[in-house]
Amino acid sequence: MKQTFVLDHKKQSHPFDPLQLHQSIVAACLAVRSYEGEAHQTAERVCKKVIDWLAPKDEVTSTDIRRVAAEHLSVYHPEAAYIYQNLEMMV
C-alpha cells in the first residue's frame, strides 16, 4: 500500500497516522457530549473518507487533512466539526 506523507506546520514531513486522526475526531465528538460509541463510529467513518481521499496523493499538509476531515465530520456531527476546526483558534 502506498504511503502518504503529511507536512505539518513546522514543515516537517511524517507518514500519515490514521490512529492520530481517529483520536482527534473522537476528542472533538466527546467535547460536544457525544456518546463514546457514537464518537468512535463517527471517527471511523470520517477516517475512512479521509483515507480514500489520501489514496492517490504522495504528500499533503496537516491543514488539508484537518479541512477534509472537518468537511466529512460536519455531515455526521456539525458541532463536533466546528470544535475540531476551531479548537486551536480560541485564544
Binding site: 476528542a27 467535547a31 460536544v32 476551531n86 483558534m89 480560541m90 485564544v91
Partner: protein, 237 residues
C-alpha cells in the same frame, strides 16, 4: 469628605459599572475556560470534576484581579498621593487602550484568536490542555489575567481610581466584590457546561458576537475617559 460621599455618588458608581462592563467584554478568560472545558470533556472528565476545575479557574481569576487592584491602589498611594496619580494614569492610558481594543483586540479571520504575543497564547493553550487538578486550574486563571493585562489594565485603572477614593480599610472588600462580579460570566459559563450543554454553542456565540464586544468595549473605554475627565474637572478646586 470626598471618600464618604463617593459611595452615595451615582457619578462614580457609573464609572465603576462602566469599567465592569468593559472588563466583562474582554474575553480571554472565557476563551481559556472554553478550551479547558473542551479538553476536559474529551478526557471524559465527570461533571463534578469539571465544575471543580471551572470554579478553581474562576477563583484564580478573582484572586489575581483583586491583588492587582489593591496593589495598584496601594502603590500609587505610597508613591504619589493615590487617586491623583491614578486619575492621571487613567486619562493618559485608557483612550489608547480603548483604541487598541477597537483596532487589534481580535485577530483577523475565523475563530476568536486574540492579539496576544503568540508565546503567551501558546503557553495558555498548552497549560489548559494539561490542567487536571484544581490547583493547576487556579494558577491557569491567574496566568490568564496576567496574559490579558495589556488590555485589562484599562478597566482595572478605572475601578482602582474609584476604589482609591474610599477608605483604605475597605479597599480589599470592594476590590474582591468587583472581581467576583467581573468573573460572573466565568462562573455562569462553567455551570452552563456542567449542566450538559455543548462548548460549541458558547464558542459559536462568542465568534458571532466578537465584533460587537470588541467595538463596544473599546468605545466604552474612550467614553469613560471623557466622562471621568469631566468629573475630575468638576471636583478639582
Amino acid at each position: 469628605m470626598l471618600s464618604s460621599s463617593i459611595l452615595n455618588d451615582p457619578a462614580y458608581l457609573l464609572v465603576a459599572v462602566g469599567a465592569l462592563f468593559v472588563h466583562v467584554c474582554y474575553q480571554l478568560s472565557v476563551s481559556v475556560l472554553t478550551h479547558l472545558s473542551s479538553h476536559s470533556l474529551s478526557r471524559k472528565t465527570s461533571e463534578k470534576r469539571l465544575l471543580s476545575l471551572g470554579f478553581s479557574y474562576g477563583f484564580g481569576v478573582i484572586v489575581t484581579t483583586t491583588l492587582i487592584i489593591t496593589s495598584l491602589a496601594s502603590l500609587t498611594q505610597y508613591v504619589h498621593g493615590g487617586s491623583r496619580l491614578l486619575g492621571a494614569l487613567v486619562v493618559g492610558l485608557a483612550p489608547f487602550i480603548g483604541l487598541a481594543t477597537v483596532l487589534w483586540y481580535y485577530r483577523q479571520g475565523d475563530g476568536t484568536r486574540l492579539w496576544l504575543p503568540r508565546p503567551v497564547a501558546s503557553y495558555l493553550l498548552e497549560r489548559s490542555k494539561k490542567t487536571h487538578s484544581a490547583l493547576e486550574a487556579t494558577l491557569l486563571g491567574a496566568a490568564t489575567v496576567i496574559g490579558e493585562l495589556p488590555f485589562l489594565i484599562g478597566p482595572i485603572l478605572f475601578v482602582t481610581y474609584v476604589i482609591s477614593l474610599l477608605d483604605p480599610s475597605t479597599w480589599l472588600g470592594w476590590a474582591t466584590f468587583y472581581s467576583v462580579i467581573a468573573a460572573l460570566p466565568l462562573l455562569i459559563t462553567t455551570m452552563y457546561f456542567t449542566s450538559g450543554h455543548s462548548v460549541a454553542r458558547v464558542q459559536k456565540w462568542r465568534e458571532t458576537n466578537k465584533a460587537f464586544l470588541q467595538w463596544t468595549s473599546g468605545i466604552a473605554l474612550v467614553l469613560l475617559t471623557i466622562y471621568l475627565t469631566v468629573l475630575q474637572l468638576g471636583v478639582t478646586p
